[in-house]
Symmetry: C2
Subunit: 304 residues, 2 copies
């Protein structure tokens, strides 16, 4: 037995829980936290690529807004959150990482059912980078299905405040996987697609990019796509996107922190356009990774 | 220091986590469980009153249905679940208890986003009995507000499968508490009330009881109310219940495992009927507790 055996193994990821940094496999939240028992929580995900956060400020700003919308208070300033996220990544040694920050309701004193009396909790973790599409899928394009399951309405839960209400996504995904597709996009009940599990969706038709403007998370990668398109003078239209229009697209792609711009080449088992990854998708994908080198967007991490 | 200090303190409640019984204050779930990160879980709550479960079979049956609906498998037969719940209560020594059983998605192997590959997890806990209304409120009746927040649609999440998608309830409740009410009832977006946080709602008008028939959890206490009304030859109507009809009721009450039949005497700050707890509500409340003595519904717990 040597002292090394007593060192925690941080290589699979690190979490910040109740003021301590622990290996991801040991990270847990109290079973009584309303973040679990009522899914009463807000969160955000920022990625680290080649040793630098990408658009950290934008994610911190959205996290603050999501918390405020749900009347949650992590009790930490953005600079303090940055320190915690950085320490999670640093301890893990991960150069590419998926970094999540979470604020839960916690619990009120025993016997109270008043959310205002709860002590909110902050959690964070850094794990290896997550890809929504594997390498083969990124080359040939994803096959997605449009689901009959409706995305939870904005009249019930505000989708612009990032939250864990995903049962509709999960049930839709299960249906799509059973049908042989690889992911799913949900609709708004009026024939329009909205979003899928972890991503926004885009259509390219006659040189114009369209993405839904309501009932969706306003993804930071979605924003990056819009800004990249503007930088290339490609017109972008925010509005409704019908399922029929999606199927009739020249190109379809997704935006996500889990891989950036991801091509879709089949919808409901029918080829989109040529059936190959299209030129607009390819151009934006390349630019997405180029922007990771841009000092405006990167926050370099000092590892040990 | 004596050996007593090493005994776990089970008096505040007991949880079953990863095959072990632990004090509720120490009970935790992995932060990476999709039961938390995607609110991908089903649950049920059964109560213990004066040392006996009330309608345990009905709760176990509904839990099984909820799990099946979400394609979750706790990996335990009802008799095994009964043993675990009983052991939680027995260790706590609680004669009146709120007992929750939970099945979460768990997590798939690293890198997979396929819920079918996840290893589902079973959790349970027993804590002191939870009242949705305190003693004063039970005597004079609760004051509830009808919220503008719409209950999540059944087209998005099946409300008959008991789940933790409660952001709509929480935001509605916060609005109601701010306005000086004590609880909230949500609507379906078409002018009808549906349910509130932890309860079903009933109207009594001209001797007829009405409760919503869709967009709601089919509560076991709701079923008990319907059966009690039938046993007293009070007509019960399952159908839509408009917000206007609710306000114009002779009596309003809630049904919940958190206290049984609970009177409501104000809706949107206006008195219901006489403003006092009405005779149908009083009669059903008394019968609810009488039925707790009925051998058909009770499962006696052998404490040590």
């Amino acid at each position: 037995m040597n002292s090394h055996e007593h060192q925690p193994d941080f290589s699979q990821g690190v979490a910040f829980v109740r003021g301590r940094y622990v290996p991801i496999a040991e990270a847990a939240i109290p079973i009584t936290d309303w973040g679990f028992l009522r899914s009463d929580a807000a969160y955000d995900v920022v990625t680290v690529w080649e040793g630098a956060f990408f658009r950290l400020d934008a994610h911190l700003e959205r996290f603050e807004k999501s918390c405020a919308r749900f009347r949650l208070n992590p009790g930490l300033a953005p600079a303090q959150i940055t320190d915690i996220l950085t320490q999670c990544v640093r301890l893990s040694g991960l150069k590419s990482s998926y970094v999540e920050m979470i604020c839960t309701r916690g619990q009120p004193p025993w016997g109270s059912r008043d959310p205002r009396q709860a002590v909110n909790q902050f959690y964070a973790f850094a794990v290896p980078y997550v890809w929504i599409a594997n390498e083969e899928q990124r080359k040939r394009g994803l096959h997605v299905q449009i689901s009959d399951v409706e995305r939870i309405s904005p009249r019930s839960v505000d989708p612009t405040a990032k939250n864990y209400h995903w049962n509709d996504m999960t049930m839709g995904l299960l249906g799509a996987l059973d049908a042989g597709a690889e992911s799913v996009v949900l609709t708004d009940g009026a024939g329009n697609v909205v979003e899928g599990p972890g991503f926004n969706i885009f259509s390219v038709k006659n040189g114009v990019i369209t993405t839904p403007d309501r009932g969706v998370l306003e993804g930071i990668t979605r924003r990056t796509v819009i800004e990249m398109a503007q930088s290339r003078s490609i017109p972008v239209q925010l509005g409704t996107l019908s399922a029929d229009a999606l199927r009739a697209s020249d190109e379809v792609f997704l935006s996500t922190s889990g891989g950036g711009v991801l091509p879709v080449t089949k919808v409901d088992n029918q080829a989109i356009g040529s059936g190959n990854v299209g030129p607009v998708t390819q151009s934006l994908t390349a630019l997405y990774w180029e922007w990771h080198e841009d000092p405006r967007y990167k926050t370099v991490i000092q590892y040990a």
